[in-house]
Subunit: 165 residues, 3 copies
Amino acid sequence: MTDDRLERLERRVQYLEDQHEIARLLSAYGPLVDAGRATEVAALWEPDGVYDVDEIYLSGQEELAAMVRSRAHQSLIAGGCAHFLGPPHITVHGDDAVAVCHSLLIVHDESGYRVRRATAHHWTLRRGPDGWRARTRTSRLLDGRAESALLLGTGAMGLGLEEST
Amino acid sequence: MTDDRLERLERRVQYLEDQHEIARLLSAYGPLVDAGRATEVAALWEPDGVYDVDEIYLSGQEELAAMVRSRAHQSLIAGGCAHFLGPPHITVHGDDAVAVCHSLLIVHDESGYRVRRATAHHWTLRRGPDGWRARTRTSRLLDGRAESALLLGTGAMGLGLEEST
Amino acid sequence: MTDDRLERLERRVQYLEDQHEIARLLSAYGPLVDAGRATEVAALWEPDGVYDVDEIYLSGQEELAAMVRSRAHQSLIAGGCAHFLGPPHITVHGDDAVAVCHSLLIVHDESGYRVRRATAHHWTLRRGPDGWRARTRTSRLLDGRAESALLLGTGAMGLGLEEST
């Protein structure tokens, strides 16, 4: 009886921890990428993690870190920018998870601040020996292309992109 | 003694679950509405849920779904948009809850992205047979009208609008 | 054996509660400050809490409340504004914690809405007799100044500013 109650509690706490750890992982992305912390950004992904954005397909932590160190990204930071992610909606399936969120890229120039991009993000994550890490981030501009709506809808239903309906 | 500890733990976990489930429900709104998933958006509310925005008063899941399917909303999606909600502040009272958050409506057009609206949201929610659902969402533009500040202040105090001070 | 399991569970729940309470405290800031609730904004900080923004250094709840009541802040509210904070990344060390987030200040004027500022925030918090309160908020514009990147990177590593690397 006590054992059953303990087991149920342990499962409930595990679920909350999974949700929390994933949300915490994702909440580090924006601050780290705007700080130019290339190694730490890359470490949010698994060693062979994928970052698939409209114009870019990166695979593996080295390519991820190189993106942060790139002249394009460094000049965003030098001018002033915010990679502003919204609160993610997360679905956990055992040792796998799907998350979805929006982001805004805010940039600063001599005339002030403006929204350069609004983006839809579909994440898949996996629990490994060191906790949850991103496997894939698939991101598309919210400029009316059908793919972005698909990422958001699929992600909010907790589905992987190969399961999208 | 063990029973007391278990009971206290169960209550603490229940509280965290309530907070989490409500936050998770609200985090689905933006992705679903930008994906045009009318049925799924409506299902975030109770069957007779209310959506009270400046110029619109909708009541019931059918009206909510119709709003998502409307030409006005579909043309927002077709042009590119983000209904970007901030992290909600939630207060749970037994089977009822109050949440408050901001949102931005970001729209895309030929000149890029801009902030079309900033809005204050006051939500009331209830725990039902299938978990937490929204009862009411009361939303006003943050354009200086006194009502918006009232929604934010009342919501952050965990009060319903009829209790607002 | 049962005692050990209970103790482990209690520690895990305590950690989730700490993370949750701090996130909930920070999620009240934007709604309260846009509602002009001066006393409630100030109460998010410890009595001698610090608010260190580019051009302003405030110390203590009285100065914090006076900032909310100031003509400058009240005229922001009267015109329409949103102090929109992103989901914080929080690191708890016993009774102390560090949090980091972005914020956007969205303002309304006759031509609509625009992003007036994007800001990096590094918070330190402490658990006191009434729960978690902010000790310091250190905030710098994301306009390319090196300090902002330092706040974000240091915060995301869970470090205080005196430990920044």
